[in-house]
Symmetry: C2
Subunit: 219 residues, 2 copies
DNA sequence: CTTATATACAAACGTTTGTTTACCAGACCC
DNA sequence: GGGTCTGGTAAACAAACGTTTGTATATAAG
């Protein structure tokens, strides 16, 4: 996991300093935001002095970019795995997606929030990379929603409204729910992250009007 | 509306400088965050020099506090009005709450986002004020949810789960949906803020399992 | 006219910022 | 031993920070 820079795969006693800087910086960006977090605070949290950061990263911005890149790669991978686990029924796919995304943002809420809020402070080309990754995640949800509507598993027709709710709007609503759960959830409230993810999956299925099907247990 | 400081109620040609500073600061806090926004940028946007800000506010923090206070007062007032308009049926109350909150955060997304994200940079007692206001908003939603469950209008029992979804969890999910809509919504996408608010109200009613009742038109 | 008040300005304050530089201790290879 | 590399240190850099100061000007009151 932690690949030390040049050693021949012998695991170092402590996590490598490069990795340590990433973790402490993520925590500080989460608490205070990127601009208010100084290089001196980051390095002090790692037990070294300011100049040392530049042995591992070219700038403070580069540290932020590394954090965001890792978070987005991991979340995309996790969602695609969940999609496969859902089989070919859109409702089961959607439930898996919601579960996985909620779990990711509760278990790794520090990186999750930083990735959502601090990309503005990156140079434009790197900021665009982050936005593209967010768009890919959204597309995964939109495709599953469309599949569920086409197969008649989801129902989004408001009797008081001219047309059905738009798929992109529904996808955004679901994403905002799952992503922001990480901001308030604390595992000490008598509710585990797993239980929260299950409740969210249930709520989202109700939200898209997924009728309980034969084969799903009924209470 | 804009009360100029000393004139005898004759409307000034331009909005007063105190108000102007508030608006420009809000926009800059929204774009770059509080710590990355300098006093010089704020005052330059108002066409004056840095020192002039201190004729109107005691510090940069005080500007942030004024923005947050105004936003929270307005949103609480709007929600309570919506609650009254909903009558005594919990489903109609909930629909009004969702509509109003979504509208507020789309029409005033700048203040809305700043209020949600920048309170960390306030001194502890003022930060607590903001958190208290957020808690009051959450309670409004929780009470309406409880009323709907007690009167049987809402249904939150997951057949695959031991108990029903917790009211506080459902309230958070709804709040995250509405509040964050302001971050991505742009009125140029062929969807007005009103239509978005209506769709969200519909989605939330499905989410809480509100059965369409006699008297609501069916398509 | 005189006086007071509000608000603008330019300039400076001490501090902190991200980053660079020059130097040094230890590990490894031959 | 000597040579090279890695990754640390202390000190310095210009630039930018929030804020204070002294001063000018315009408006309104007495």
């Amino acid at each position: 996991m932690t690949r030390s820079r040049k050693t021949t795969d012998g695991a170092p006693a402590t996590t490598s300093m490069s990795r340590r800087i990433l973790d402490e910086a993520a925590r500080l960006f989460y608490e205070d935001g990127f601009p208010a977090t100084t290089v001196r605070k980051i390095t002090a949290a790692c037990g070294v002095t300011a100049g040392s950061l530049y042995n591992h990263y070219g700038s403070k911005e580069e540290v932020l970019y590394a954090i965001l890149k890792r978070a987005h790669e991991d979340s995309e991978r996790i969602l695609e795995e969940g999609l496969l686990r859902g089989g070919d029924r859109a409702d089961r796919q959607l439930a898996e997606l919601v579960r996985e995304l909620t779990l990711f943002h509760t278990e790794r809420r520090i990186e999750g929030l930083v990735a959502r809020t601090e990309w503005r402070h990156l140079p434009p080309d790197q900021a665009k990379e982050v936005l593209d990754a967010q768009q890919r995640v959204r597309r995964i949800f939109e495709r599953t929603l469309e599949r569920g509507l086409n197969t008649g598993r989801f129902r989004l027709n408001d009797p008081r409204s001219p047309g059905p709710a738009r798929v992109d709007v529904v996808a955004k609503a679901i994403l905002d729910m799952c992503i922001n759960a990480g901001q308030w959830f604390r595992p000490d409230g008598g509710l585990s992250a797993q239980e929260l993810a299950d409740q969210y999956a249930f709520l989202v299925l109700q939200l898209v009007g997924a009728a309980p099907e034969a084969g799903d247990r009924e209470s």
